[in-house]
């Protein structure tokens, strides 16, 4: 009995301290919110920029305001993302933890480099970096992007990234570009991966309608300099092109794996072409995609998109709500404009990119017995570029807001 007790005590003495090995007090860690990756001057080395959140800013009212900045930004040259954190501990006082990283920002320069996959691979391997981290391509160097990114109201960086990424993907201006999706699509070796495109340096102002811009081109005054707009197109792990906001929206509409909610856009006024009608576009259901696979001749891809539209503004004051004839013309205008733009995008993807950004390869897989047969049929070289693609937009329901009649201009100005 006594021996047994002594044995038990020994076990406990051994067990108790071993738990302390893993224990990490919260305040002894630094939480990295954003990681920036750039090419270093040296070959095969990279500059890692860590944006570390300062927990004392904005999170607790009782501790009193501090004059410290909301985050600390450090850049260090290293081999991979995790080793660099330990080097950074030479000047960051706490253990750098990547558990709460929200975004990985990659400069366009690095993204277009063929070594890009190598450095990102290391990030995927460490258990610290979640697969849900968003991949962002910045037009400038990632270090500059992080340094210049000074949100005005959301001063805490994690909150800023969470809200803005949520908003741009919901409104369709940028794709959902999780790290997991990047590897899924890249390793699937069939489709194109779209990554959020961003810039903190305003470039030449672009021209076009409300969403036909790339990040940095939006004409604006005030607010944060950072813009998230459009997408970077990755083929086989290397960036090849960019899509502007409008094209990204179309991709988001056609890709059933994206969760676009609703957005407001404008269409040409069919009665008075110098005006544009504002339409609230909303889509409850995923698009219906059916692929008829033909072994010897081009396959047929049929896509049906059910959507609803709500007229937001009619600057021309044409009476669309009461006149069924005008209504029909408006509907035709909306559908034909959407279809025309979509066809243009599809043509571009078939001819220029050689494969699709819509993740449609998911729907052809069921026609094959096994992976080998599917890989042999070659979606991205044979099936998609030669396929006949029909996209049909189907307006389920047109609404006119809470007002039937617009102000009659003649009556007002008599």
């Amino acid at each position: 009995m006594r021996k047994k007790n002594i044995f038990l005590i020994c076990i406990f003495i051994m067990v108790f301290p071993s738990g302390c090995n893993d224990r990490q007090e919260l305040e002894q860690q630094s939480y990295v919110v954003a990681i920036g990756v750039d090419k270093a001057e040296e070959e095969d080395k990279y500059d890692f920029t860590y944006q570390i959140a300062n927990p004392e800013v904005g999170s607790s009212s009782s501790q009193g305001g501090t004059n410290e900045p909301p985050s600390e930004i450090v850049t260090i040259t290293g081999n991979d993302v995790l080793t660099a954190t330990y080097t950074a501990n030479a000047f960051v006082s706490k253990k750098i933890t990547l558990d709460h990283t929200k975004v990985i920002i990659v400069s366009e320069e690095l993204a277009r480099d063929e070594n890009f996959l190598r450095v990102l691979q290391a990030a995927a391997r460490t258990p610290q970096i979640r697969r849900g981290v968003e991949l962002i391509v910045s037009k400038e160097k990632a270090r500059e992007f992080i340094q210049l990114n000074k949100p005005v109201t959301e001063t805490r960086p994690h909150k800023y990234f969470l809200s803005i990424l949520n908003r741009v993907t919901r409104s369709g201006l940028s794709p959902n570009s999780e790290l997991h999706r990047f590897f899924q699509i890249t390793e699937g070796d069939a489709d194109l991966f779209l990554s959020t495109y961003a810039s903190a340096i305003p470039s030449e102002e672009g021209e076009g309608n409300e969403d036909e811009y790339l990040a940095g081109q939006i004409p604006k005054l005030g607010g944060s300099p950072t813009q998230f707009m459009g997408a970077a197109v990755f083929k086989e792990g290397i960036m090849i092109d960019t899509l502007n906001g409008h094209e990204t929206r179309l991709v988001n509409i056609l890709d059933p794996t994206m969760d676009i909610e609703n957005f407001i856009t404008t269409f040409k006024d069919p009665i008075e072409p110098k005006f544009r009608v504002s339409i609230g576009y909303s889509q409850d259901k995923d698009p219906n995609i059916s692929i008829t696979y033909n072994k010897d001749k081009p396959s047929l891809i049929e896509v049906t998109v059910d959507f609803k539209a709500e007229v937001i503004a009619i600057p021309s004051l044409v009476d669309y709500s009461q006149n069924p004839d005008y209504q029909k013309r408006l509907i035709n205008q909306i559908i034909s404009e959407l279809e025309e733009q979509t066809n243009k995008l599809i043509e571009k993807s078939q001819k220029e990119y050689g494969t699709d950004p819509f993740y449609w390869s998911l729907f052809v897989r069921k026609h094959f017995l096994d992976v080998k047969a599917y890989e042999k049929a070659d979606w991205n070289k044979v099936i998609y570029p030669n396929a006949k693609i029909k996209v049909r937009y189907n307006l389920q329901n047109l609404e006119f807001g809470k007002m039937l009649n617009d102000t009659s201009l003649e009556e007002v100005r008599d």
Partner: protein, 500 residues
């Protein structure tokens, strides 16, 4: 030194052996009685001698004046004997309860339990007259197990009153109140209540045997009896239900359980029990179906919160910080920047502080009661946080776990849960979630292995028995057809046989 010896000597002198037989000469009997009860020193032991009117014989009546009703003696014994004519004693004495005793052992027992004993000259049999009037509290509101909707009366420290409270609710000729005695020096009366045609005989005999096997000088009340009856005195889990509510006791009687009452406790014991007996409140059944189940749901949540929330907090923030949403994480981190202690220590400080307030709150004299609230709130809240001894979030955690523990009204299971909380916190501090889940599993397995008078602790859920399925949630009252199958009652259905 010598006074000790002397004292010992003098007690041994008075410790006379109990005479074996009753003499038929009154003077001898009086002398013996006086010696037995130390008449000269024992202030409240009284006797009165008189001549019986109808046969002109000498008689003496003995009693403890403190535990008998003097008026009753006067009205029902002395007055008739002194004035009335009649054939024999039992026709003249108007008292409702008259027994004939034949030896001194019985006499001692009867006098101790508040009877008056009548000796008559020339008669070797003795009459015991029930004039007992033990003082007790009046029936008050149930204070420890209060309900909003439902009867408010509680047991009081009198067996007869308690029995009356139960019989008032259950008019069944099969409801038996069986008396048993326990204790060698001071014999106490234990009453076993059960419904004869429902109770499981095996369990009943088991309970009786355990009571018979108790060999101790005295057991004063059911609170002590509980500890003599239970199987595992060192266990963290109670196996006997203790309640002060007559309606709760009656509900269990109707289901075939056994209720144990004593004269000296304002509560009863119910056996056998399961986890559900501790989890349920009588109000669950008084409230309408939805309301009752809603309150069960809240109580279940409280069970979880009070055992787990502190431990989960320790585990997650010490070992799995990636699980915390970033806003909360940064808020906790910021509030901990100035705290000098490790997080687990912080949690233990607060939990122990809460236990201190609780313990002190029970022991504190009533007039000081309000003070404890103010001091407690100050220590727990503002002051400790402002002094940077603990972080504000810990106050929330400790308050939540403390408050939840009050929702578990049964005092026994309440202690179980509070002790478990500390086990879980220490486990979580060791290896995080891994240890917490491991210890929880062990704890749960132990609970499942517990048996109360042969009934598994989680029955009828596991192992499964036919029952009203009154476990986490209850059915509508009309659908509660079966009695709990785990105690194997003689009659399973709560409906009359012919209605089926």
């Amino acid at each position: 030194m010598s006074p000790f010896f002397q004292a010992e000597k003098s007690t041994s002198e008075t410790d006379m052996p109990i005479p074996t037989s009753i003499s038929n000469r009154l003077e001898i009997n009086i002398e013996q009685m006086k010696e037995l009860f130390s008449f000269k020193v024992n202030k409240d032991f009284s006797y009165r001698s008189f001549v019986i009117h109808f046969n002109k014989k000498q008689a003496t009546i003995f009693y403890y004046s403190s535990i008998v009703n003097g008026d009753k003696i006067n009205e029902t014994i002395l007055k008739p004997l002194l004035e009335e004519d009649g054939r024999d004693l039992s026709n003249i004495i108007t008292i409702e309860n008259l027994l004939v005793l034949n030896d001194y052992k019985q006499i001692i027992k009867h006098i101790n339990s508040g009877k008056a004993v009548l000796f008559v000259d020339g008669d070797s049999s003795v009459y015991s007259l029930d004039v007992a009037d033990f003082q007790h509290r009046v029936i008050t509101k149930a204070e420890n197990e209060s309900v909003i909707k439902g009867p408010q009366d509680a047991f009081t420290e009198s067996l007869n009153v308690n029995l009356s409270l139960i019989r008032k609710q259950m008019h069944d000729r099969q409801l038996i109140s069986e008396g048993m005695q326990v204790g060698v020096r001071s014999k106490s009366e234990i009453n076993l209540l059960y419904v004869k045609d429902l109770v499981n005989e095996e369990i009943l005999n088991n309970v009786k045997k355990r009571i018979e096997d108790i060999s101790v000088d005295s057991i004063r009340n059911v609170e002590l009896l509980e500890q003599y009856l239970e199987e595992r005195p060192y266990s963290i889990v109670p196996t006997i239900l203790y309640t002060e509510r007559p309606d709760k006791a009656t509900a269990y009687l109707e289901d075939g359980f056994i209720v144990i009452l004593m004269d000296t406790s304002s509560a009863c014991l119910i056996v056998p029990v399961t986890f559900w007996s501790f989890f349920h409140s009588p109000e669950d059944n008084y409230l309408r179906y939805l309301y009752g189940n809603f309150s069960r749901m809240i109580r279940l949540l409280c069970f979880y919160l009070t055992t787990m929330i502190s431990a989960t907090y320790v585990a997650i923030s010490n070992f799995h910080s990636e699980m915390i949403p970033p806003d909360l994480l940064l808020a906790i981190t910021a509030s901990r920047e100035y705290v000098p202690f490790p997080l687990i220590f912080e949690v233990l400080i607060m939990e122990i502080a809460f236990e201190i307030i609780r313990e002190a709150g029970i022991r504190i004299p009533n007039p000081l009661g309000p003070t404890i609230g103010i001091v407690g709130a100050l220590i727990l809240g503002q002051a400790a946080v402002e002094a940077n001894i603990i972080s504000p979030i810990i106050v929330i955690i400790a308050a939540l776990s403390g408050l939840s523990s009050f929702a578990i009204s049964d005092i026994n299971i309440n202690f179980t849960v509070r002790l478990t909380k500390f086990i879980f916190i220490l486990a979580a501090g060791l290896f995080g979630m891994l240890a917490l889940i491991g210890v929880f599993l062990l704890w749960f397995m132990y609970l499942a292995s517990i048996k109360s008078f042969g009934v598994s602790f989680f029955a009828p859920l596991s192992p499964h028995f036919k029952s009203a399925n009154d476990t986490f949630f209850r059915k509508a009252i009309k659908k509660q057809i079966f009695r709990p199958g785990q105690i194997k009652p003689q009659d399973m259905t709560k409906r009359p046989k012919d209605s089926n």
